[in-house]
């Protein structure tokens, strides 16, 4: 199973080396990879349908319980089949759609990484590996959405998508850590068996919210939905793949995966019903106000995702069956319509629904796919879409919540979705063919076969639901329930009942709506008026505010004046250390602890104090530097008095060199000397006095603690025995702590290279001018 997941990654790496060679020519062969994986996973159908669960475990970081555990059950199987199956068609379709594109190999690389990440996501049984794959899908989709990297809107929407889904991923990581705390494991299967305990935990609600955050951002639920229409900037095969079968369904997958663990509580169900309900209705209505085919499809995808969240929220077995069927329904018809849209775009170079008419006459096979797709999306028999719709209505009418509102919401959603499906799938192919499209050519075989295949498959499943009900749907429901599901029998005819009436209403009103309301510029403009209320607008405002704050922050702290940096650092240390010292120290001066002061010490100290005063009050830079040198040498003498000759020698040399360095730098500075005003001087004076006092206090505080001489004794005793040296300081430097010294001299070298680079950096005149302009 690990090999199956890794195949995509390995292939992407393989492309890095060979992409240039077999560019374009053999790209159709790449589709063999998802096809092979599809066959591999399809081989498990019979075993899974018998209730078997296949697991594999690979150790990764066992000490942290982080392992690559994989589990193939009904839910995972459904997703793997969708990912690889639709992946196969998309890979094949792309070989012609992007034929001759200069980054075709790169595209396939991103696509296969994405596919592999998606497979890993749905197969992971460990929350940490789930998170890793989850973020990999976000990252690879970032590259896919921003594939046309020379267009600014493309880059921008890729960033938005990454931002939104990335935040969701972090919430998922937080959820993983939290659940590890609650259940003591990262394994999802083990959590299922501990569902009761987790639901009773005091952090249960927080865990639910984190999972919601991850799922809602990934699956574009209101109010995080806006990244998805933007993601339509990607080439159409990407939209097909990401938005019909894979990426956006990851959130749904997560919710379903956690249903047996977290579900059944009010927080879970009500929130899902409300959020899903708002999303499905809001974006279904939105489709009316779009005229870009991909825009319409994007909003109808969001709506479909809303329906799935809504069904998960209902939480009954009927609802789970409906959800499982609807996942298949949606994947089939949405992929069909996206591929059809891609062909239209490819052949006519427009996706404007107001302009497209009568294309049936120039590319009838595409028309068949479009119309069948629209029928399935509308839920007209005998498509599988009809089945799905009936199941959804059935589950809704039998739910325990405020039924009438839910029914109105779902029926309205379905009506608008029917309209959207008709506009995307039927409108471009009916009516009179405009003059400008009369020369449009028939697309090549490889473009129109995949959508036709998917559309026909939708009809086949509708007519013969036994192909999927027991083998695929039932295991999915079992995994959602966390136990064995009852028998699942799907059929086209359910009898003349309430649900059937609702169906008739939906189809009737929807068709009427389609006849009356055609996409138009007027509607698009009408919707634009409300843009200021949209979450996207608010987020942009928030972003601007954030940028303003951060630039203000940067200008305040990083203003390029060394003196400000120094005072900031000093102030910070004073506040932090001062707080600790004042809070925990008793002040007491013990005069008896003073040792006798010798005359030489008094003299040195006086010289030192004089040096300090001279440094502070002199008006000449050179004099200040020299006075600093005097201070340094006085300190050297103190080292000598207290028998630290090594330190004294080093300090003496360093001080000498520092003075020389200062003189060299001063030599370069301009002659004039601008003194700071009184206010600044007083402020700096106070700050530095406090700092000095604080450091003195810290030094005294350190002295008052009993010294631990164990280490010192060890060194003193072993210096000669083990390192054959009598100078303990040197032995420590070159032997006991030699590795430290090694690193220190490396750091020194880096510093020298830094100085060399900085001083030798000579900008060219043109560059210099450019930087000055900024």
């Amino acid at each position: 199973m690990l090999t199956a997941i890794l195949t995509g990654f390995i292939f992407a790496i393989f492309l890095v080396f060979t992409g240039k060679i077999f560019k374009g020519k053999l790209s159709i062969l790449t589709s063999l990879i998802p096809l092979g994986l599809f066959i591999y996973f399809a081989g498990f159908i019979s075993r899974i349908s018998e209730g078997e669960v296949i697991t594999r475990s690979y150790q990764w970081i066992p000490s942290f319980n982080v392992n690559l555990d994989f589990k193939l059950d009904g839910l995972s199987l459904l997703f793997t089949l969708m990912i690889t199956g639709i992946g196969f068609l998309v890979f094949a379709y792309t070989s012609n759609y992007l034929k001759g594109h200069k980054y075709l190999d790169r595209f396939y690389g991103y696509l296969s990484v994405f596919m592999a990440a998606m497979l890993g996501l749905v197969l992971s049984d460990n929350m940490i590996s789930l998170f890793v794959f989850w973020e990999l899908t976000s990252i690879s989709s970032f590259f896919l959405i921003g594939f046309n990297n020379d267009s600014e809107p493309s880059r921008k929407s890729a960033m938005t998508a990454l931002g939104i889904t990335g935040i969701g991923g972090l919430l998922l990581l937080a959820a993983a850590l939290l659940f590890d705390n609650m259940a003591g494991t990262y394994s999802i299967s083990e959590m299922v068996s501990m569902g009761e305990a987790i639901r009773g935990n005091e952090y249960y609600v927080l865990g639910v919210l984190l999972i919601f955050g991850a799922a809602f951002t990934k699956s574009a639920q209101f109010p995080f939905h806006f990244w998805l229409p933007g993601a339509m900037k990607a080439p159409t095969p990407v939209s097909t793949y990401l938005h019909s079968a894979t990426m956006v369904k990851a959130g749904i997958y997560l919710l379903m995966r956690f249903t047996p663990i977290l579900g059944g509580e009010n927080v879970w169900n009500t929130t899902l019903i409300v959020v899903g309900g708002i999303t499905m209705l809001y974006s279904a209505v939105h489709t009316i106000f779009r005229k870009d085919l991909k825009g319409i499809l994007a909003y109808s995808t969001i709506s479909a995702l809303g329906i799935l969240v809504f069904l998960t929220g209902l939480g009954t077995e009927d609802a789970f069956i409906a959800a499982a069927v609807f996942i298949i329904v949606h994947a089939l018809y949405k992929a069909t319509l996206f591929l059809v849209t891609g062909i239209i775009d490819h052949q006519t170079h427009t996706r404007d629904a107001t302009k497209l008419n009568g294309l049936n006459k120039v590319m009838w096979p595409v028309g068949i796919a479009g119309i069948l797709g629209a029928i399935s999306s509308a839920g007209i028999p005998p498509s599988i879409g009809f089945l799905g719709k009936e199941l959804i209505y059935d589950a809704t009418t039998r739910s325990e919540f405020i039924v009438i509102i839910l029914i109105i919401a779902i029926v309205l959603t379905k009506i608008f979705l029917l309209h959207a499906g008709f506009v995307a799938g039927i409108k471009p192919f009916t009516g009179k063919l405009p003059e400008e499209f009369s020369k449009v050519k028939m697309p090549p075989l490889i473009l129109w076969v995949p959508p036709v295949f998917l559309a026909v498959l939708g009809m086949v499943f509708g007519l013969a639901p036994f192909l999927i009900d027991a083998p695929i749907i039932r295991p999915v429901v079992s995994s959602l329930l966390g136990g064995e599901a009852g028998e699942v029998h799907l059929g086209l005819w359910h009898g003349f009942n309430m649900v059937f009436i609702l169906s008739l209403i939906t189809i009737g009103v929807g068709t009427l709506l389609y006849i009356l309301v055609k996409p138009s510029v007027k509607l698009v403009n009408a919707a634009a008026k409300f843009d200021k209320l949209a979450p996207e607008y608010l987020l942009n405002k928030f972003n601007q505010g954030f940028l303003w704050v951060s630039s203000y922050w940067t200008r305040f702290f990083q203003n390029g004046y060394l003196r400000n940096y120094v005072s900031m650092i000093t102030l910070f240390v004073v506040l932090l250390v001062g707080y600790v010292i004042l809070g925990s120290t008793h002040f007491k001066i013990d005069y008896t602890a003073l040792t006798k002061v010798t005359i030489s010490e008094i003299i040195v100290t006086l010289v030192l104090i004089a040096g300090v005063f001279y440094t502070v009050f002199t008006r000449s830079r050179l004099a200040a530097v020299v006075a600093m040198g005097v201070i340094g040498w006085s300190i050297c003498l103190i080292f000598v008095f207290y028998s630290a000759p090594d330190l004294a020698m080093t300090q003496f040399s360093i001080d000498t060199l520092t003075v020389i360095l200062f003189v060299l730098v001063l030599y370069k500075l301009p002659r004039y000397l601008k003194l700071s005003d009184y206010k600044t001087r007083i402020r700096d004076g106070i700050l530095s006095s406090i700092f000095g006092v604080l450091i003195a206090m810290v030094a005294l505080e350190v002295l008052s603690y009993p010294a631990n001489n164990e280490i010192g004794d060890f060194y003193a005793q072993n210096a000669y025995l083990q390192a054959h040296g009598k100078n303990v300081v040197n032995v420590i430097l070159v032997d006991f702590r030699g590795a430290d010294t090694m690193i220190e001299i490396s750091v020194l070298s880096i510093a020298a290279i830094g100085v060399f680079g900085l001083m030798k950096l000579r900008l060219k005149m043109s560059d210099r001018k450019r930087y000055q302009d900024k």
């Binding site: 000759p645 090594d646 020698m649 080093t650 040399s653 360093i654 000498t656 060199l657 020389i660 360095l661 060299l664 730098v665 030599y667 370069k668 083990q722 390192a723 054959h724 040296g725 009598k726 100078n727 300081v729 040197n730 032995v731 430097l733 070159v734 032997d735 030699g738 590795a739 010294t741 090694m742 001299i745 490396s746 020194l748 070298s749 510093a751 020298a752 290279i753 100085v755 060399f756 001083m759 030798k760």
Partner: protein, 142 residues
Amino acid sequence: MRNQIRTTIILKTASNYLLPVLLIFSIFILLRGHYLPGGGFVGGLIASIAFILHSFANGLEKTRELIGIHPGYIIPMGLAVSFLSGFMPVLLYDLPFMTGLWSHDAVPILGHIGSALFFDIGVYLVVNGVTLTIIFTISESA
């Protein structure tokens, strides 16, 4: 330095004699380090002071000519010596990195010779190279 015209003849003459004396002194400090105050770090600093003094008296160009190579090249040489001295035990005797190796018989003046001494020589070179690189670079652009 630029203003070498103003340099006194006394300093110039003195520096010519001081340079070798200081260099020998720095090596002396380096070698005695293991038993008495001294070592590679201080030795390197003293050596670089010697060269800087020479450059003050005779001008930077003269000192550069005297050293022969750019001081920047001394740094990697020193690093290599230090690293190799630490790595020798691994290569020769399969001992952990930086295990001290010692000669059996004591050499006059130096005492026992061990890998630590070579490590210290590396430090000496690095410190010398770093200091001279920094000071030369800054004084050049001044």
